[in-house]
């Protein structure tokens, strides 16, 4: 056993990703600090994850009260919980088998909650209809994406299934695609134009890929991760038209739909635009759109909940999709409950409404002010350029790394941005994501920071980053 363990840890250090190595190093430093080792900082701040609670934002009280009451219904009689919490919990328990969150649910989720989600979508999209039959509640968007990939990505046969995927991107999507045996067809977002998605680039990528693989789908992230752009309606229309012409299945990752910071931008769903374009588009373009309880102001990543809505899926195919999803039995019930709250949050007049809306507003204000601060501070630093953060929960600034630093990184066998990130961690205790995890154009270097964090923490992040950046530049200039 001990031999195995040794071998295993050796392997970790050789073959794991830089991001995993950074996270491990961050944990090590934290442990050392706790043991009293002195460093020029008193704690490690990790803003490499998109994990709001880890970054210090609080869960919404109403959400946690309802979940706790569902878990332990004795709380319903104790009068410590507001009436609307009790009502919601009782209502939801009534929808669970045997009145318990410990029961399995239907494959697509608790029917009442699927219905709620469907209503939420219809309301969000104006007059566009949404049918509960097309919605599956899952263990979060990542799970939804994996399931949807399984449907059409064949891992056998003579030619691989290709999926167009943005650069920079959400790396776990590409990992899921690889795992399923598909191949990523990269299309570049245009950084100079605020990470704009351009159809001519889609077209270039697609044609370059044809002949090498069979591109069947197009993956878009709107608002962008890690890039923070928000697509305009016009841009979405162009993408839909392109997908229609090229017969691509659209995968719209819309988990940041609640996080739009630029008042001039608005989140418009792919589904809404598709329907408003009318036939033949609205009746033919196949779309799967994804949403989650992990992002927005809920930030409930650990409870794992999300949904996928299918549009224009062939009904026979849909039957097989059902069977495939049923292999998971069902999504975790607590995640489903939170999805219900997301779909139907407390309304004005409800006892919990004041607290709920105050908490939501506070988070939104925090994010908005963080965006401002990040842009101001990064904008004032030499050798960093950051495109406007219009949505999402990340900043993805470009670093202009001095040539001798790049040289030194090469000698150390590291990507320059990983080199930068690991020095940043060692010297200031700040852990950020490396751009190379997400993909970036050749010769450019980036880092990713999560901005879903309390203001004080954001300031501390920016302080550490600025101080480090200036000393890094002077060291290597």
């Amino acid at each position: 056993m001990s031999l195995l363990r040794e071998a295993s840890s050796r392997l970790w250090s050789i073959r794991s990703s830089e991001q995993v190595a950074l996270a491990k190093r961050a944990a090590q430093i934290t442990a050392e600090l706790q043991q009293g080792v002195t460093r020029p900082y008193k704690n490690v701040i990790d803003c490499s994850w998109g994990d709001p609670h880890r970054e210090g934002l609080n869960p919404l009280t109403f959400v946690r009260q309802v979940v706790a009451a569902c878990l332990y219904p004795s709380l319903l009689t104790s009068e410590v919980l507001p009436v609307d919490v009790q009502l919601r919990a009782k209502g939801l328990l009534g929808e669970c088998g045997g009145g318990s969150v410990g029961s399995y649910t239907s494959t697509a989720g608790i029917p009442k909650i699927v219905q709620s989600v469907s209503e939420f979508i219809s309301q969000r999209d104006g007059a566009v209809p949404s049918s509960p039959e097309n919605i599956f509640i899952t263990l979060g968007s990542q799970r939804s994406l994996m399931m949807v990939l399984k449907i059409f990505v064949k891992n056998e046969g003579t030619i691989q299934t290709g999926v167009l995927s943005p650069v920079p991107s959400y790396p776990y999507f590409n990992m899921a695609l690889s795992m399923q045996g598909g191949v990523m067809v990269p299309y570049h977002l245009c950084e100079e134009q605020g990470w704009k998605l351009k159809v001519d680039e889609l077209s270039r990528a697609l044609h370059a890929a044809r002949g090498h693989c069979n591109p069947m789908a197009l993956y878009v992230i709107n608002p962008g991760n890690p890039t923070g752009q928000v697509q305009s309606r016009k841009s979405i229309e162009d993408v839909i038209r392109f997908a229609a012409e090229e017969k691509l299945f659209l995968l719209a990752d819309e988990v940041y739909q609640d996080s739009v910071h630029d008042p001039k931008c608005e989140f418009v769903s792919y589904k809404k635009v598709l329907f408003e374009m009318g036939p033949p588009f609205s009746s033919s373009v196949e779309l799967a759109s994804f949403n989650s309880i992990s992002k927005g102001y809920f930030g409930e990543c650990g409870l794992r909940g999300g949904y996928v809505e299918f549009v224009n899926l062939d009904p026979t195919v849909m039957g097989h999709v059902y069977t495939l999803f049923s292999m998971d039995n069902c999504a975790a019930v607590l995640g489903q409950i939170i999805l219900d709250i997301m779909a139907h949050p407390p309304q004005p007049g409800d006892p919990s409404y004041p607290t709920f809306s105050e908490e939501v507003r506070a988070i939104q204000d925090t994010l908005a002010s963080n965006v401002q601060r990040v842009q101001t501070v990064l904008g004032s630093l030499p050798g960093i350029s950051c495109q406007p953060i219009k949505g999402g929960i990340f900043a993805f600034p470009q670093l202009h790394i001095p040539p001798c630093a790049i040289q030194q990184a090469k000698e150390a066998g590291m990507e320059p941005d990983v080199f930068y990130a690991s020095r940043l961690l060692e010297e200031t205790g700040l852990c950020v994501g490396a751009g190379s995890e997400h993909g970036q154009s050749e010769g450019t270097h980036h880092i990713r920071l999560c901005i879903a964090t309390p203001t004080e923490n954001m300031e501390e992040v920016l302080n550490r980053l600025s101080t480090f950046h200036l000393s890094f530049r002077s060291h290597f200039s």
Binding site: M1, S8, L11, W12, I14, R15, S17, V20, W49, D51, H53, A68, L71, Y72, S74, L75, G97, G98, S100, G102, Y104, L139, Q142, M146, K154, G157, T158, I159, Q160, V167, M175, S178, M179, V183, P186, H188, G211, H212, C213, M216, E245, K247, F249, C301, G302, L303, R304, N312, D314, H320, T323, S326, D328, N329, A332, M414, E437, G439, Q440, E442
Partner: protein
């Protein structure tokens, strides 16, 4: 037989992971450069797409302005088409339809659908274990720490779990392998359960129910083409997750039949037979065992486990032991032995070489918390490089629900005798398991009193899997309808009585035999009604098809 002692020399799945090469973050010198982008996760372009490029030109369809669907029955992944999942199959969909009809005031010859199709204890009225719910509620809403109505031991457990969570919130992602302190608790639990056999928390992976772990391990094991394609030995009857996953991955199913005449015992000669027969057309790499059995309810003897492990050792098979019913053993004289413990007792040559993955879950046992989607697996003797691949594979799913992890923690770390919640916990646990034992006996007895139904003892787990005599005329009619005879039987039963069972054909059975699976979970009064109605239906069914003469075997 000469064997190399080193575990590295008997890695079964080292050759099975090519498809995960893509998931290995490459050392920098190998970074892919394509279309002037560095993208570490883009692996397949380079690592296993190349051989396919040669045939590419011929098959890409021409672009057309008239849009047809991208995803049709022709383009659907054929492996998805092959998947069947009986426990949530047509009969269950039909049951949901009938329930909906009843809710909307529709007329049926019964007032409720009794779902005895799935091991869903709470849906059948079993009460949750108070302590478990208290701990998870406290984790969810820590303001309750100030509440005098919750016991201190529950608060201490919750506090400890939250300390292990990012930002001390259940809402943060955990490491993909699971929360550290929970993995340590699981390892300690396993050591205790197995009377001191060492367990290492580095070998524990929290999962989303046991199914998720089972699928992950199978994914690691399936590789090869033609005669080198991975063969997976599964019991027949089996839990349909196995056959569904095998179909989805296009592995080769190797059926070994459990011995119905011997209370569904596993017969080692049958393993040899199945293995030898399969070896001609595939590469058997893994044997799956479900103990206690689902749907068959047998509990494996220690001797039988030893035989299986010896067989796996000799034939270089990876062992997957599905032990989610380890707390559900009812029959006198039966006892649960973990595969790991037996392996240890067989000596270091076995314990240090046989690759084993064992699975547990929050959904069964005395807690029955299916909705939490909690579980874990323990792996043994995995080659380090392979284990790193497993970690990577698991990380693609981010992490299992942290609430399910917390529930798992309570199961492996229940109240101790000196703690305030101990007596209540103990009483609840005993009551649940006692009732299950009683219902297991009752189900077996009543079923055996019906002409044309024969039921083996329900030694463990949560199901009876009796054999049905279906009259030849009914068999013919089923054939004419294009369905399995036991499907016809179960559909009629559902439509006439509201009882929802799963036909044996969904689990696999010997040709010409028919079964159904029913859970023993309904409360005793409801179970009695269910069994009475089932008996009446069965007799009516026999009469209708002109036979009351039933061959008893």
């Amino acid at each position: 037989m000469h064997r190399l002692p080193s575990s590295a020399n008997r890695s079964l799945i080292a050759g099975a992971v090519e498809q995960y090469r893509a998931l290995v973050m490459r050392p920098k010198s190998q970074t892919i450069r394509k279309e002037s982008v560095r993208f570490k996760t883009q692996g397949p372009m380079e690592s296993y797409g190349l051989k396919r490029y040669s045939t590419a030109e011929a098959t890409v369809p021409a672009t057309s302005k008239i849009r047809e669907k991208t995803l049709t029955m022709e383009t659907l992944n054929p492996q998805v088409k092959a998947v069947e999942y009986a426990v949530r199959g047509p009969i269950v969909m039909k049951a949901e339809e009938i329930e909906k009809c009843l809710r909307e005031g529709g007329k049926q010859p019964f007032t409720e659908v009794i779902k005895a199709n799935i091991g869903d204890a709470h849906a059948m009225g079993q009460q949750p274990i108070t302590f478990l719910r208290q701990v998870v509620a406290l984790c969810t809403f820590p303001e309750l720490m100030d509440s005098p109505s919750l016991p201190e031991d529950a608060k201490a457990r919750a506090h400890r779990i939250l300390q292990g969570c990012g930002g001390t919130s259940l809402g943060s992602y955990s490491a993909s392998q699971g929360v550290d302190c929970i993995r340590r608790d699981i390892a300690a639990y396993i050591e205790q359960r197995d009377h001191g056999v060492p367990a290492d928390s580095e070998n524990i992976f929290l999962t989303t129910g046991a199914s998720d772990g089972i699928v992950s391990i199978l994914r690691m094991l399936v590789s090869g083409q033609g005669a080198s394609r991975t063969g997976v030995m599964i019991p027949i009857p089996q839990y349909p997750l196995y056959s569904a996953a095998i179909a989805e991955m296009e592995a080769v199913q190797i059926s070994y039949y459990l011995d119905e005449d011997n209370s569904w015992a596993l017969d080692i000669n049958e393993l040899h037979r199945a293995y030898q027969a399969a070896k001609k057309h595939c590469q058997p790499r893994v044997i799956c065992i479900i103990n206690p059995g689902n749907p068959t309810g047998q509990v494996q003897s220690r001797k039988c486990i030893e035989e299986v492990l010896h067989f796996a050792y000799e034939e270089n098979l990876f062992v997957m032991s599905d032990e989610v019913y380890q707390d559900n053993v009812y029959a006198p004289g039966c006892e649960f032995h973990s595969f790991k413990k037996v392996l240890y007792e067989m000596g270091p040559e076995y314990f240090n070489s046989v690759e084993l993955a064992s699975f547990h879950s929050t959904s069964k046992g005395y807690t029955g918390e299916c909705g939490f989607r909690g579980g874990y697996m323990e792996v043994l003797n995995l080659e380090p490089e392979v284990k790193a691949q497993l970690v990577k594979l698991r990380s693609v799913q981010l992490c299992p629900p942290v609430s399910g992890q917390a529930a798992m923690d309570v199961i492996v770390n229940p109240p101790r005798p000196d703690e305030p919640s101990f007596s209540c916990f103990q009483q609840e646990k005993t009551a649940v398991l006692g009732a299950l034992a009683e219902k297991a006996k009752l189900t077996e007895e009543i079923l055996n009193s019906v002409p044309g139904i024969q039921c083996n003892p329900v030694q463990g787990a949560m199901y009876a899997f009796p054999q049905l005599f279906i009259p030849p005329k009914a068999v013919e009619q089923a054939k004419a309808l294009g369905m399995q005879p036991d499907m016809l039987y179960c559909l009629r039963l559902l439509e006439e009585t509201g009882i929802c069972l799963v036909p044996g054909s969904g689990f696999g059975q010997r040709d010409g035999t028919y079964h159904f699976r029913m859970t023993i979970l309904p409360p005793k009064d409801k179970l009695n009604v269910l069994l009475d109605n089932l008996r009446d239906f069965h007799i009516k069914f026999l009469k209708e098809y002109g036979t009351l003469e039933v061959p008893r075997g």
